[in-house]
Symmetry: C2
Subunit: 197 residues, 2 copies
Amino acid sequence: MATRKSERTRQRIVESANRLFYHQGYHNTSFTDVVRATGVPRGNIYYYFKTKDDILHAAIDYRLERIRSMLEGWTDSYRTPVERLHRFVALLDDTGEALTQYGCPMGSLNAELGKADLALQEHAAQLFKLFEEWLTDQFAELGYAGRAHELALRVMAVGQGISMMTHVHHDPALLQRERQRLKRWVDQLAEGDDSCL
Amino acid sequence: MATRKSERTRQRIVESANRLFYHQGYHNTSFTDVVRATGVPRGNIYYYFKTKDDILHAAIDYRLERIRSMLEGWTDSYRTPVERLHRFVALLDDTGEALTQYGCPMGSLNAELGKADLALQEHAAQLFKLFEEWLTDQFAELGYAGRAHELALRVMAVGQGISMMTHVHHDPALLQRERQRLKRWVDQLAEGDDSCL
DNA sequence: CATGGTTTTGGATATCCGTACTAAACCTGT
DNA sequence: ACAGGTTTAGTACGGATATCCAAAACCATG
């Protein structure tokens, strides 16, 4: 019947599990952890999800949806591709402390799943693809039609590199420094200066 | 008494476990996995290592030692800092297929441990620090004394970004493309062109 | 209120995990 | 070949794990 309340319970599970998976890693998070964090009893969780993997799938879908609407919002809120790219770069800062402590949510998840959970990893890779498509659009609109996708991947790579280094060294200063550098790089591109491609 | 044979057994455990941790992740590798992979019976492994964590500590030490001697070798084999930096960049290629399949060994390990195993992560971070110190030396010798460490971190970040993207998309072509770009960036720096700093 | 599907509960289960232990086998110096 | 520590080997154990189940509670509709 899918009542309102049941939908909310399901959502509560997804959000709690998602947070746990991010903070502790997927394999390091037990079913009991999820039970404790949500307050929802075991059996009930299994009423909504057949397996622990299913919970992660749902969590990934949840993230996908959030990213989709975030990007949509950016597209609407900012008129020029440069502003949009700036907003993207600023994303590194939105979640600054979490990123320092737990790393990039997408990167660390893919890194973990990529080793031995290929089905889950493939799903998680969609998170990257969402950003990449959006970035590709922005670069295309900037006039880099042919190289737009390549540039998108590069920006993602730089973001991942910054995230990883910040996490490894627990150093928010590094994050700030390199984020500003990335921003300057975007500015250069916007001015048509492709000497650094 | 530490005979030769016992030392070899210990080493066999460390190397097998190290491979497993890389290929499957630490938390996703069980003690039984290590037993099966090594052929060494449970009890005997516990003779050498008190806990599973201890095995990982030993594996990290093993990696540290290998990296140390690799870098030493590079310092000896190549005269100029540019050649040495080129050798570093080429490292991305040495392990190309493995990198595509399992990600960067250092990066993925740190990402996993950084979430909830701080003591182990701190140890694993030494892997990064080794490379960073060596890179710092090379940049200093290139004439970038003041910014040498910053540049070292940046090169590491770029390498991590490339590794992550290659792994996420299972795309060796991306690896090649971005590796060459990194090489060109190093060349620019070597020529004193710091416009892209 | 009665009916029947949906949701909630918390305990049961079988398996797997890391670790402990004990006894046997193996050396090495005498 | 004897005595000592060292290494090997297999098994045992308690706790944690993911999953399952059966009964209770809920709740919309007739």
